[in-house]
């Protein structure tokens, strides 16, 4: 068996990205990543106090990917993602208060307490989906709508995990998107683990699969370094421009890591301490911080202040959620049907 060749990352110069974005935007992106990090960490602690129930899938370690993506494409599109959806909601502007209240199951929550951690929404966010791969056709349909209604600058973005690639829905969607020229950006956030199964045990030819799938279905492919904000930003920007100009779908793979288990109940025993330590040495936030400090765009104190401010926003959200009322049980059967 010949050794799988690991394809190269999309080539992008950090300097180019820094120059084009500028200090203010870059700091704003770092700030958003810190918000996500603080939110996920403290919400997880709240879970461990019994305030949040059910499933909880942390985005810690993957912050660079969606932050860079949204910076590149903007908000005026349709967004669809997996159950690991807190970050995307925050990036689109859903307040930490509203998300935390939803996690606590309160009436002031994002979905009035009906959805929970896996089902967050925004006027541009179609969810948060619980069934692996189930969201991919939905995103394809949203892109279909954009095209049908003639919205030339509007696309749909579908985020999925590496574990969803084997699902039939993935291939059905790529096929139809390619057949019908549907302007959908499919981003595989490859954090290399399907719960406790390493991608090498779940996906044949996993290093090259997205490259060849894209080829098979006749669409472009990008491979991004998911721990590198600048690399992600550059890649997403180019991919987005391609979709807009060609009307063709695009398949992106962002290779990264998640620092926590698959979900809160996963103790992550499939990774050794040393391996995890090594993984966490490439913390996307620290990497970006260091790069910005190196280029004198940020100081350590400013970073600490930014971190602290976001921590406080999240503590505030915890208080808001704690003090919010429970949904009125008499409203249980409302809104099963739309009027």
């Amino acid at each position: 068996m010949t050794q799988e060749k690991i394809p190269e990352f999309f080539k992008v110069s950090h300097q180019t990205v820094i120059d084009s974005l500028g200090k203010e935007t870059l700091l704003a992106c770092l700030d958003r990543m810190l918000l996500i990090r603080n939110f996920e960490t403290r919400a997880e602690a709240a879970y461990q106090q019994g305030k949040i129930g059910g499933f909880f899938h942390s985005y810690v370690g993957q912050e660079a990917i969606q932050t860079a993506c949204l910076q590149a494409v903007g908000h005026k599109h349709w967004f669809v993602t997996t159950y690991r959806c807190h970050a995307l909601a925050l990036l689109l502007g859903v307040t930490p208060n509203e998300i935390m209240a939803e996690l606590f199951g309160k009436a002031t929550g994002n979905a009035k307490g009906r959805g929970g951690s896996m089902h967050l929404y925004h006027e541009r966010l179609l969810g948060g989906f619980g069934i692996v791969g189930g969201q991919i056709p939905i995103a394809t349909g949203a892109a279909f709508s954009s095209k049908y209604l003639g919205k030339k600058d509007e696309i749909a973005l579908c985020f999925l995990g590496d574990g969803a690639m084997p699902q039939g829905a993935f291939h059905e969607s790529l096929n139809m998107a390619a057949l019908w020229n549907i302007p959908c950006m499919y981003t595989v956030e490859n954090n290399q683990w399907s719960m406790g199964t390493h991608i090498s045990r779940g996906v044949a030819n996993h290093h090259q699969i997205t490259h060849y799938l894209a080829k098979a279905y006749g669409m472009s492919h990008y491979r991004l370094d998911g721990m590198d904000f600048f690399n992600c930003y550059g890649g997403f920007l180019v991919a987005y421009q391609e979709i807009i100009s060609t009307g063709r779908p695009v398949l992106i793979e962002a290779v990264g890591e998640r620092f926590r288990g698959h979900s809160i109940s996963d103790p992550g025993l499939y990774r050794s301490k040393d391996a995890l330590k090594e993984t966490m040495s490439r913390d996307p936030i620290i990497l970006m911080k260091n790069e910005l400090i190196q280029r004198s765009l940020l100081t350590e104190e400013e970073y600490k202040a930014m971190d602290k401010a976001n921590r406080e926003r999240v503590v505030e959200a915890l208080e808001f959620a704690e003090n919010s009322p429970w949904p009125d049980p008499s409203t249980l059967e409302e809104d099963v049907f739309a009027p």
Binding site: G115, G127, F129, N175, A338
Partner: protein
């Protein structure tokens, strides 16, 4: 007035709604260039073009999901399943997404989609192609389920379904596509959750839906010869049920037989019967009877298929037994 078959009635409904609202489109296997596996969508591609009449590959989960995504983002899709047996491949999209979305998103995203196609048995199509899905999907909150039984209600119900802002399962039947009927040319709609009293009677209530209504009509004629005046109720909408019409009838006749093509365990008859006894126990002069498909997969052989499905004879026997007549 016009005399048309049920197939044409469905086609007219789709066509008229596509005319009325530009966001309405139809997709499914063979709906466009083939003019429909059962010719229901004949001519629509020529009229509306490939952007609105779309042939899909064999990817039920995929295109059902695409329909739902489109419905969430401003369009009103009609998704055809070549038969509802294939909807089971898309069950995750229907069950986890379509019927959950409005509630799950806290009222943010509605899903104005119609899933339509033939349901139930055809002619000897065997175990995997004969499912009646109303009881399977009926158990889940968030779906509207309709069962047209003739050209008139086919057109009126489908128009309502397309204009409704919720996911609708519209269950047709291959074996009655060719049934002719005189229907108006002017527009009319039949509301959700309204049953039709096909014929009035005072002696016994028969409740049914879909293709079985036709068999029940035949049974009613035979009952009439014996001087028994049956009141036949066609559900038209399976969920939500029109219990008002049904209970009013049972209070009058005191006897009830429910006829469905689907399987007996946990079928639609079980739900209707429960609700009847819940509201009318002391008006019943005998147990409620049901005539359903027997507890086996659908066999291929003509003789066995006939044996497992309801027949006019079985319906009559159920009536006589209920009335305690010989």
């Amino acid at each position: 007035m016009q005399v048309i078959d049920m197939r044409e009635a469905i086609r007219q409904a789709i066509d008229e709604e596509m005319q009325r609202d530009k966001t309405v489109f139809i997709m499914g296997e063979e709906v466009a260039e083939y003019n429909g596996a059962y010719k229901v969508t004949k001519g629509l591609l020529d009229k509306w073009g490939p952007m609105r009449v779309i042939d899909t590959p064999i990817s039920e989960n995929g295109f059902a999901g695409i329909g739902i995504g489109a419905a969430m983002t401003g369009l009103r899709p009609i998704v055809e399943f070549m038969s509802f047996n294939f909807s089971l491949v898309a069950a995750d999209q229907i069950i986890s997404n379509a019927c959950k979305m409005y509630y799950m998103s806290g009222g943010r995203f509605s899903v104005p989609i119609v899933f339509r196609g033939p349901n139930g048995a055809a002619a000897q199509v065997s175990c995997q192609h004969s499912h009646c899905v109303e009881a399977i999907y009926g158990n889940l909150p968030g779906l509207i389920i309709m069962a047209p039984s003739n050209a008139y209600n086919a057109k009126g119900l489908l128009k309502t379904a397309i204009r409704n802002n919720n996911p609708v399962l519209y269950l047709e039947c291959e074996l009655i596509y060719s049934d002719n009927m005189e229907i108006p040319t002017e527009e009319y709609l039949i509301p959700v959750g309204q049953a039709n009293i096909v014929q009035k009677g005072k002696d016994i209530t028969i409740v049914s839906h879909g293709r079985m209504v036709k068999l029940c009509k035949e049974a009613c004629e035979k009952l009439q010869e014996r001087g028994i005046e049956a009141e036949l109720i066609d559900l038209q909408t399976v969920k939500p049920l029109d219990m008002e019409t049904i209970t009013e009838s049972v209070r009058k006749t005191h006897f009830c037989v429910i006829v469905e093509e689907g399987h007996i365990f946990s079928g639609i008859a079980a739900e209707v019967a429960f609700q009847i006894q819940q509201h009318c126990l002391n008006d019943l002069d005998a147990e409620i009877a049901r005539v359903c498909q027997h507890e086996t997969p659908m066999p291929y052989s003509k003789v066995l298929e006939k044996e497992t499905l309801p027949t006019v004879e079985r319906i009559l026997n159920a009536c006589y037994e209920t009335l305690a007549l010989n």
